[in-house]
Amino acid sequence: MSDRWKWVSWIFGTIVVIVYSIIVIENKKRMKAITDKYRGQVSNSSTNAESPKSMSPTNRASSAKSKNSLSSSRQVASGKPSHSSKKGESDGDPWNSLERRLKEWDPKAPWKVRRENESLVRAISGGVIPAKGADIQSVQSFLEELGDSLGVSTKELSPPTRRTFDVENIYEAKQVIQGYEVDGAFVKVFSRRSDGAIYYLASEMKVVNHPLLRKDLDLAAARNVVAPRFAGKSFEIEGSDSVQGANPRIYVKDEKYSELVWVFIVKVTAPTYDRRMIYVGAQSGQVLLDESLLMH
């Protein structure tokens, strides 16, 4: 190739890279503006309140449709919505629908939605949602109504369980994918016992992308991975701890890596006391987590 063609191809390539970068940056700016806009709507509840009528059955269906597939919820959770939405649009945008619903339930409340990475909802607070927390069925309907507004698909939630205390009920639904619990992933709904009003929602739902779900190692084989780590120490692999079940669970290391793991608790009694939690990948056979349970 002549020098002349080399220069032409170099310049052309540079232009392509620059143009692509500009497009990416502009897209990010646009999405940030959208995010800020909806955050602003939440914090300023006295403005932009929409009529409950605007939440038409069609809109609900649209929203529900968008949450039905795992892939769509992942798309939302792992980044930003794939489309912009203006205030009042009936486009099934999960953020829009969440804020709209909150305002329907209590237009005057200073609602706060705490998010992580701009998409995953971690907490909803600031007002009360009448009657939606009266019983397990109501809470289940409430969570279905929220849909993928939480940033991941509520289709992955187990039926809620309830703990009852003097003044409140606490409902907890665990994130379950293909029958396996996602480690540490749940939604908790807090409701007032006197009238069933929901006053707080906490979510630790996780984005699970392409989890490794093959069980190449059974529990006994995984146990054999654990024991050598404690050679020379007095230890016991506990078998009856509530943390360790007969079923493996999905451990989400990060958004790029999830794997089915066997969970072990190991009590070390010498030379120094310790109690450790160890996750062994059921497919990879790797120790993915080994940390002390000691708090002091």
């Binding site: 706060k112 705490r114 992580e116 971690r122 907490a123 607070s125 600031g126 007002g127 009360v128 703990r163 205390f165 003097d166 003044v167 409140e168 606490i170 540490g184 749940f186 908790k188 807090f190 007032r192 009003a197 006053y199 707080y200 906490a202 979510s203 630790e204 701890d241 943390v243 608790i265 009590k267 009694t269 010498a270 030379p271 120094t272 006391y273 109690r275 939690m277 349970l293 000691l294 708090m295 002091h296």
Partner: protein, 477 residues
């Protein structure tokens, strides 16, 4: 705002009659409770009557001052809520309060909540209320408040020979009990007979032959399992305890049982109740430390002051550790890693709330680690009485994100809300227990404000918004 409300459920135990003002007699009912014992409440009630009126009271002017100490013994420790109610409140102009003859707050708005701050106070305090009515009449009432030590036992120099006790231990820890440090530091088998005088009855034992209940099973890995003596009691002198560690086991059993009882009385719940927590009161492989291990409690050997002894001699330590357990049963397993910013993290919250368990049990003396450090000031940096000005930013910049370091901010935040003049201690105790279940891995000290706000809105009609705002601002959030 009109003064309103009703006086109910309070027990008036004796009555005096006195004359106040010029236009009539005022009947002054003075509650004669002996401080904070039992479940009784003391009441001061002032009511006016017209002199010589055969029909009885002509004007229903009255002011009742109820010392709401009856809910629990311990709730009275830090301060007392004084609720003033009246059947004809519009006639009252104001009420001047005084403590031991010194003028204190003048109450001008209803509902009145007047608090007697009892932190670090042990002597009786005379609380006086002087009500001025709009027609110029006055009425006054007085009551004596006797601060008492937390716990169902009592200090008795003759404890070892008094048959009414099951065991003789230390109140909180040997330093707190003695009210001074040991020189040199206390060690195994030391003769501390003059200090080992807190007489207790052991509660909830499911067996007469071991320290076991539905809540705990106490033993000592590097000691002997405590068993009753020939008289069926556990009266063991610390001077003869070397190698056994019976006193440490008794301390652990008694004070953790008290922790559950006290916090349940204050807040209505203790999540770790009934969980049969195994407790090892002495594991010498653990130096200068103690653990909640996700299931049980392991207490080590303290060597910091120079001479070794059981960490378990300090009740504050395992009250803290059981605090971790309480949160685990409330919120589930949460992460325990350093915080990445001054906003704090769930690990710091966990540490701070565990410290606050100590403050709830020993509200009058919430210092942590006196025995551990053989110091009246306790563990450096963890004293809520000294951390009023500690903020998230200052703690993070000086000590980084280590969970105990940042936890001190959270403990201080909780304490400042608890002792805020506009906060009811019982309400905050409930708020505290409720909030434990609402914490998750993504909780930070900063965003925990939304948790308290939610509880305040849902369970307390929003009346503590100012307290929450002020205290979070004080802590830099």
């Amino acid at each position: 705002m009109a003064i309103g409300g009703f006086l109910k459920h309070y027990i008036v135990t004796c009555i005096r009659v006195t004359q106040v003002g010029t236009l009539g007699f005022f009947i002054l009912n003075l509650g004669c409770s002996k401080g904070f014992e039992g479940n009784k409440s003391s009441v001061i009630e002032i009511a006016s009557t017209s002199q010589g009126d055969p029909k009885g009271p002509e004007t229903p002017e009255s002011v009742s001052i109820a010392f709401k100490q009856g809910l629990s013994l311990e709730s009275a420790e830090v301060s007392e809520d004084v609720e003033i109610v009246s059947s004809n409140s519009s006639e009252i102009k104001d009420i001047q309060m005084s403590l031991n003859g010194n003028t204190d707050r003048k109450l001008t708005e209803a509902p009145f909540i007047y608090r007697v701050n009892l932190v670090k106070k042990e002597s009786p305090i005379k609380v006086k209320a002087l009500a001025t009515f709009k027609n110029g009449k006055t009425a006054e009432a007085e009551i004596t408040v006797n601060p008492q030590l937390a716990g169902s036992g009592g200090i008795d120099p003759s404890c070892m020979t008094n048959a009414s006790y099951d065991a003789c231990i230390f109140w909180k820890n040997p330093i707190s009990h003695k009210k001074s440090v040991f020189k040199p530091a206390i060690t195994y088998g030391q003769d501390v007979a003059t200090v080992q005088s807190y007489g207790i009855k052991l509660k909830g034992l499911s067996s007469q032959s071991e320290l076991k209940s539905i809540n705990f099973t106490v033993s000592a890995k590097d000691g002997q399992k405590a068993v009753p003596d020939s008289a069926g009691t556990y009266k063991y002198k610390y001077a003869e305890d070397s190698g056994k560690s019976f006193v440490a086991q008794l301390m652990a059993y008694f004070w953790m049982t008290e922790e559950i009882e006290i916090i349940k009385k204050k807040s209505g719940r203790f999540y770790a109740e009934g969980k049969r927590v195994p407790v090892s009161s002495l594991d010498k492989s653990v130096k200068n430390n103690a653990y909640w291990d996700g299931q049980g409690i392991v207490l080590g050997e303290v060597t910091i002051p120079g001479k070794p002894s059981e960490v378990a001699l300090g009740a504050d330590v395992y009250i803290h550790e059981l605090g971790h357990g309480n949160m685990q049963y409330a919120a589930g397993n949460t992460a325990y890693r350093s915080c990445g910013s001054a906003a704090g993290c769930i690990g710091a919250i966990n540490e701070g709330q565990a410290d606050f368990h100590v403050a709830l049990v020993f509200s009058q003396n919430p210092v942590l680690g006196e025995h551990f450090f053989n110091s009246m000031e306790g563990m450096p940096g963890r004293n809520v009485l000294q951390n009023h000005n500690l903020t998230g930013t200052s703690a993070f910049s000086s000590g980084g994100g280590e969970v105990h370091n940042m936890g001190a901010v959270y403990a201080s935040l909780l304490w400042e809300m608890y002792v805020h003049p506009a906060m009811s201690h019982l309400d905050f105790s409930k708020m505290f227990s409720l909030h434990l279940a609402m914490l998750t891995n993504s909780s930070t000290i900063a965003n925990s404000k939304a948790v308290f706000e939610s509880i305040n809105i849902a369970q307390f009609d929003g009346k503590y918004k100012t307290v929450i705002d002020e205290v979070f601002k004080l802590k830099g959030y």
